[in-house]
Subunit: 252 residues, 2 copies
DNA sequence: CGACCTTTTGATTGGCGTCAAAATCTGTGG
DNA sequence: CCACAGATTTTGACGCCAATCAAAAGGTCG
């Protein structure tokens, strides 16, 4: 795959907490005057073209990021070349904090759509958090929320069949999108912008794109969903939630 | 299952960082004089009998815990009654921090062996962390380590077959035990105390106990492991690690 | 010693992967 | 604006890994 270059954004937004995104979790609800110091740490914003890698697993990264706009995927590739998507990142998500003992990130991150990320030098993260206990606590509880979600995926994976795990994933992404990016939600049709391909879905839930396709067609036949032009229409949320044992409170 | 009662320990250890466990992660390496304040928060220690529930999923718990001694399992049960073990907790692990939006824990915790836990009132956790930024940061990075492990499980689950996931789990638990509880490790035979049943293993990796049994027998036939009397003997660690794509650095 | 839990083994079934090929969509250059 | 290449979706045939069902053989604890 050809890798376009990541460029530095010319006119960075002054502060992430002023961006058009409804919830930007890390700084959400903290009064602006208490955030002036973030300017000291904020380095710059980057534009990541679609299908481009932000960083590669097993590299040592200088930055941690907040996703500002776009969809990204955290993933790993096995020796046999199979890709596992660990998590879809949506605007507001914190990316690249996790490292192993050697300081290497354990996963790759790439952009599904053109994305904008804010980078902080990792070297300054510790001092930044020590100066701001609230932020550290926030980071811990964001981590704990992500952990919940990860464990849900883990739990659902082997306990549930293809119908159930796909139903769960669709609703998870639907609600996270609606929560984070209300401008991408259309109440008329109960639909959201939905960039992942069937192969992405497969790599996330651990099925082949072929099988994902069969299941999605079933869902369409049953009148549960509709999807075209990178939008996902949820037609029967209740039945879908029941099928996937999905509970909204897990994601928002 | 009959549920024995959890009793309060008569003579609590004065501080967790003085206990015989080599690494007690949350307070590891923090000088004792800086830990006096923990006494203020530490409430009491509890003894949890084997096969007993510490708390149940969807309850609101008053405490967060540090596991002091024993093996515990964090798990969930699906509507169909299947149990998924999310994580085995070993001494030093922090338990019960994760909650959903309603403040309910998302998982149950029960003891595989008789266990001792230290409880802190959850209500005081926030003030405790705000007074001690180092601790909050520590908590965040412990969370990030757990997250790594959870993602590994997630990744390996569907990408790998039964041999691979069981090999991975065995080595993970072997190394975590050795790391946390060197008194339970016997260098002579390269073995550790290993309380989980084959059914526990199955519930953790998402296989039936029947299939786990078949795989373990294969491993024994191949001379990779040996197990009896609640001990696990690793005979050919290299081959096992290769089979499970296991890397020590992920767990310690 | 008896009740119950855990391990072990066999026979059968089914969900999902694999392989293959056609149809449709997307974007890029002439 | 069209043409073409590559990506993505769709559909069918076939095979295998692991689930299920069933039952016997240890192990453990009161």
């Amino acid at each position: 795959m050809k890798q376009k270059s990541i460029r530095i954004r010319k006119q960075p937004h002054t502060a992430c907490n002023q961006c058009p995104i409804r919830k930007l979790a890390l700084f959400q609800g903290i009064p602006p005057e208490r955030l002036e110091w973030t300017q000291k740490y904020r380095d710059q914003q980057f534009v990541v073209p679609a299908k481009t890698l932000l960083y590669h697993e097993e590299s040592v990264t200088d930055y941690v990021y907040t996703l500002f706009d776009g969809w990204m995927a955290m993933h790993q590739t096995s020796r046999e070349g199979k890709r596992q998507i660990l998590r879809f990142a949506l605007p507001g998500d914190f990316i690249g904090f996790q490292t192993d003992q050697k300081g290497m990130v354990s996963h790759s991150v790439s952009a599904l759509t053109e994305s904008i990320v804010c980078g902080f030098p990792r070297s300054r993260l510790q001092e930044m958090l020590e100066e701001n206990p609230t932020l550290a606590l926030r980071l811990a509880s964001m981590g704990s929320k992500d952990m919940n979600l990860c464990q849900q995926h883990q739990a659902f994976r082997s306990r549930k069949d293809a119908y159930e795990s796909i139903a769960f994933l669709l609703l998870e992404l639907f609600h996270r999108t609606r929560e984070h990016l209300n401008r991408n939600y259309d109440p008329e049709t109960n639909s959201v912008v939905f960039p992942p391909t069937q192969e992405d879905i497969g790599d996330a839930v651990g099925l082949t794109n072929v099988h994902v396709n069969r299941i999605l067609r079933q869902f369409r036949n049953l009148g549960l969903i509709e999807c075209h032009h990178k939008r996902l229409y949820i037609l029967d949320e209740e039945k879908l939630a029941d099928m996937g044992e999905f509970d909204k409170s897990m994601v928002c």
